[in-house]
Symmetry: C2
Subunit: 234 residues, 2 copies
DNA sequence: CAGCATCCGCTTTGATACTG
DNA sequence: CAGTATCAAAGCGGATGCTG
């Protein structure tokens, strides 16, 4: 990318990550952790292969990505975010939070991957029972499944199927998103076509404020000013 | 911008604001509030006039900007962020926070405008004496000056010279930035070439934790993980 | 097959000139 | 002041080819 040549933090950031596809590549690496070229391709439907290779080089020379060559145990090189690259997570969260308003319904030709739910999950879900044993929730909404785990007060995510998840969630992407970001309750989501198997408290343990027993929530808003927030629910 | 066609909040956000120059235009409108075409040009050195016009149209049709035509009292139209547009501020703050690491020293051909300091100022400065009378600090580091005001617990910014500021800060951009984000103290900045006139407590009232009496700070970090933070000050 | 590199047509951007 | 018009250069997307 051509530099903006402005001595401004936002402009300098965009000099590095403002190119088309670049922030989505960081999204993939944040979600997946270290991964191979083809993993990135699978998570970035629509990218041209030459662009992917080119951007990886640029990210590498910008110090956001490290390429680890194939060494005997592994047959292919893997790409991994550096600490500097990982520090983009808050910026991606805020961009995603802003963009969530545009996720009402998928465009006819939109693609979807379940693992894209990892970012909103990390942003919106909490482990509200830190002392309970770890639980895992498998989510299937397109592409390979995503596993969301609540353990010891933290919510983590991992791409791939779970061996024996404590619950399974599946359904249309827009409904699963709405459930995770707290725009929809489990019963409403079910009524709309989401399938959920397992203990409801696996999901309940993680759900955002807005939707956990709405009657009792009232003024529990943590973030901003005074919340007279009345959350809707099914 | 061509859509990524991915049902992902980050991708949808970038469909709207991922075009070159777009986020910098939002930066300008956030800092300046409603402003005219030429104000935007002045704050976006390097942009081509056809791009500015084109992006303004796109932002308008995306609902981020409203164009208010010239009406008798005013002779020229003004552009203003909608509420939706203003909601990008947290994303810009995080992007800027990440990009701040790239602001060590200006590139030879980098341009600078004092009012660009408004975003870091809003992010890093606080009014630590909410009950004291309002104070204003005028900052000059290139282009038109910026006024930073601390009043009633809030820090605000305004583009333009102050009538009678309580203090004036001037000097090379990189030093003034370092001062505002808390990488540098006033005495160190002065030694390095910053000029400051007026009561040091005008700046001191607003400065970030990290640099208010650095000897006493030590392990006061607020942000992350377990705060064994011994917050307070003398 | 994984991991690219090359080629080519199209779109976006940049620089400048011009206009109501 | 607030744009439009024009055109060259750069970037992107899609297809395909090469190499271990």
């Amino acid at each position: 990318m051509r530099s903006y040549r402005q001595f401004c933090a936002v402009a300098k950031a965009l000099d590095v990550v403002g190119d088309r596809w670049t922030l989505l590549m960081v999204r993939e690496l944040l979600i997946r952790g270290p991964c191979r070229y083809t993993d990135l391709q699978e998570g970035l439907p629509g990218i041209a292969t030459n662009l992917l290779a080119d951007r990886l080089r640029k990210l590498e020379s910008a110090g956001l990505v490290r390429r680890e060559p194939a060494s005997p145990p592994r047959s292919t090189p893997v790409f991994r975010l550096t600490a500097r690259g990982e520090q983009l997570e808050p910026a991606l969260h805020q961009l995603g939070r802003w963009g969530a308003a545009l996720l009402a319904t998928p465009g006819k030709r939109d693609r979807f991957r379940s693992h894209w739910l990892a970012l909103p999950a990390r942003l919106h879900l909490r482990d509200r029972q830190p002392r309970s044993p770890a639980v895992t929730l498998e989510v299937r909404a397109g592409g390979r499944p995503l596993v969301i785990e609540a353990a010891a007060g933290k919510v983590g995510t991992r791409v791939g199927a779970a061996e024996a998840p404590d619950a399974r969630l599946a359904g249309p992407a827009e409904l699963v998103v709405a459930l995770i970001v707290g725009r929809l309750g489990l019963s409403a989501a079910r009524a709309a076509g989401v399938s959920y198997e397992g203990d409801p408290m696996v999901l309940g343990r993680m759900q955002p404020d807005a939707l956990r027993d709405p009657e009792k929530v009232r003024s529990r808003r943590r973030g901003r000013r005074a919340g007279r927030g009345s959350a809707a629910r099914g």
